[in-house]
């Protein structure tokens, strides 16, 4: 019996930001959520390690196309808040070996692999060269950056690794951080027929619960982070509430 090599299909995993049950356009900047005006200043995140699950639940790795400036063979940056002055990027381009049949789910990691996360962004290959997504050598990149205003209140949720040990903020850690905080997401449904949606309503509820005090670190102890961090699924026993496949 010969080995049959199936051609790889060029595919895109599409991401959107959604307000409640209805999905808005990817370029959403002004949305009415829960009767209040929300303005999105920034909504960006890094994605890697995507696998599509076939009808038997078997994982098939999604191979990233190398497409500067948004993605290299390991990591892609998704930007859902681009406007007329800044580009946006709403889909991870890539391919998957297989027959193009139906898929039943998707696994993906929102984050940056440790070995890529703590290098100088000036010298890093795209998409890890975006300064506004970088904290410093010690903490690495913001995996998810959401900056928004709700009913006139500015709020931000920036998620990345914490508990990273090094000589100073400007030196990279040698060992993985105590809390890597990479979000490993598994969603049911056919990711090639649907879109992966980031729930703005969850973020807005978290902003209200935080009384609009920003959450940019100390996720497990800062009261301003309580609801936002719970929604990430990073707390044991609490399922994530940020991502849905629509």
């Amino acid at each position: 019996m010969g080995l049959i090599l199936l051609p790889a299909l060029a595919l895109g995993i599409v991401f959107v930001a959604s307000c409640g049950s209805g999905t808005t356009k990817a370029e959403v900047r002004f949305g009415i959520v829960g009767g209040e005006r929300a303005t999105l200043h920034s909504l960006q995140f890094y994605v890697h390690a995507i696998e599509l699950l076939d009808e038997h639940g078997r994982p098939h790795p999604f191979r990233f196309a190398v497409s500067a400036p948004w993605q290299n063979e390991q990591v892609a940056l998704i930007d859902l808040a681009g406007d007329s002055t800044t580009a946006q990027h709403i889909a991870v381009q890539g391919s998957i070996g297989g027959d193009g049949g139906a898929y039943s789910g998707i696994r993906l990691t929102v984050g940056v692999p440790f070995e890529l996360n703590h290098a100088n962004p000036l010298a890093a290959a795209a998409p890890l060269d975006r300064g506004e997504m970088f904290w410093n050598w010690q903490s690495g990149h913001k995996f998810l950056r959401a900056d928004l205003a709700v009913a006139g209140h500015e709020w931000a949720f920036h998620l990345g690794s914490t508990g990273c040990s090094s000589a100073s903020a400007l030196r990279p850690p040698a060992q993985p951080c105590a809390q890597p905080n990479e979000m490993q997401i598994e969603l049911r449904g056919d990711p090639l027929r649907g879109v992966v949606s980031l729930r703005l309503d969850t973020l807005i509820a978290a902003a209200r619960a935080a009384n609009y005090v920003v959450c940019t670190g100390d996720y497990q102890v800062d009261p301003a982070c309580k609801e936002a961090y719970a929604a990430t699924g990073l707390q044991p026993g609490i399922p994530q509430n940020l991502w849905v496949l629509q």
Binding site: H41, A68, P69, W70, T85, T86, A87, N120, P121, L122, A123, A126, P127, D129, R130, G131, E132, F134, W135, N136, Q138, S139, G152, H153, E154, W155, A156, A167, S168, A169, L170, Y212, V213, V214, T216, G217, D218
Partner: protein, 368 residues
């Protein structure tokens, strides 16, 4: 073919020497406009012009009058004064690594090239700075009458028939200003050259505080230029974000004479009091601070941010800036111990680049 060779030889006699950047290892180069290639000859012309008072209509003021090298190309005055004595409403910005800036002035998203920006001080009349408007011929005649300038313009723009023009003045000035590059501070030695001993223990502690989520300084004073307004050759997106810091209270009514920053450009009420986060490089030498120079010292600035804004009891805009509804969410106040304050100030002083502040290549060419 022979004609072509002759033509090449004819243009080849003029030397247009590409500028060589001296940047830390791995650093991307600044973006240079396609129509203003950076040459040594243009930089030399621009340097002469930058320091020349004959560029102002009444011959009393040069670019360098308000942008002084020893003050990181700013001046130790709260607000600038133009050549006619008219007061500017803003503090002269330090010119440090502006070759990397994505936008110019304290609050203007549309000015994206130095060539554009410098027309404001040259020709602007609200307020008058150099006052060149209406005196263009006179000023160009001063340059044309000077044999040294004729030579400098000829070297800088050898292919042009008409050499002494304001377009060339702007291109040469922009070229010189692009070379005001500061990457040799103790911070740079530590960060970009990996020299652990370049910073003191106090400076390292201050740097860690600066980068901490508790203080949030680095959210707006971010990246290699401590500003969110950078672009460079490899950059995919020019970053820019104008912020409200709580320096003044919000105002629903329009107060004549008040400086509302970005609002003056966009007309969007949400942009009232939004300004650019300027670079912090050489910040110790570029006092006073803020867009109107209203904070005299770095200690005042630390007081201001630790309080999460400022309360004004008198002046044209009294009120509680801390409660400005559009204030950046990262300005939430903090408490510093005496040691922490000392460490932070020590860190800020590590951004001082003495080489830059004393580099003779950036100084007045007529100086002895």
């Amino acid at each position: 073919m022979l004609l072509l060779l002759l033509a090449l030889a004819a243009t080849g006699c003029a030397r247009e020497t590409p500028y060589q950047w001296h940047l830390p290892p791995g650093f991307p180069q600044p973006r240079i406009p396609d129509d203003n290639a950076l040459t040594v000859e243009k930089i030399e012309l621009g340097r002469h012009l930058f320091y020349d008072k004959r560029l102002s209509a009444n011959g009393t003021q040069a670019c360098a009058s308000c942008h002084q090298q020893s003050h990181a190309f700013s001046e130790p005055a709260a607000i600038a004064t133009g050549s006619t004595g008219q007061k500017h409403h803003r503090n002269a910005m330090a010119l440090v690594n502006v070759a990397y800036d994505a936008t110019f002035t304290w609050a203007h998203p549309g000015i994206t090239a130095i060539e554009q920006q410098l027309l404001l001080p040259l020709f602007g009349d609200q307020p008058v700075e150099m006052g060149a408007a209406g005196h263009e011929r006179e000023i160009l005649a001063r340059l044309t009458d000077d044999a040294d300038y004729v030579k400098l313009f000829a070297n800088a723009f050898p292919r042009e028939r008409e050499r002494v023009t304001f377009d060339h003045v702007a291109k040469a000035l922009a070229s010189f200003v692009r070379t005001l590059i500061s990457f040799d501070s103790p911070f740079d030695r530590y960060a970009y050259y990996g020299e652990d001993a370049a910073l003191t223990e106090s400076q390292v502690r201050g740097m860690n505080l600066f980068m901490s989520e508790r203080l949030e300084c680095a959210h707006c004073h971010a990246g290699f230029n401590f500003s969110q307004f950078v672009t460079h050759q490899n950059a995919t997106v020019a970053e820019r974000a104008f912020h409200i810091t709580g320096l003044y209270p919000s105002s629903d009514t329009y107060i004549s004479g008040a400086d509302y920053g970005l609002f003056a450009v966009t007309g969007d009420a949400a942009d009232k009091d939004r300004f650019k986060a300027p670079t912090l490089r050489n910040i110790e030498r570029s006092a006073p601070y803020m867009h109107d120079g209203s904070l005299a010292t770095l200690n005042d600035v630390l007081d201001f941010y630790s309080a999460g804004g400022r309360v004004l009891t008198d002046g044209p805009r009294p009120g509680d800036g801390r409660a400005h509804p559009g204030k950046s969410p990262f300005i939430k106040g903090f408490t510093l111990t005496a040691q922490e304050r000392q460490d932070l100030l020590a860190f800020l002083s590590s951004l001082t680049d003495e080489e830059f502040l004393h580099d003779p290549r950036l100084a007045d060419p007529s100086a002895p």
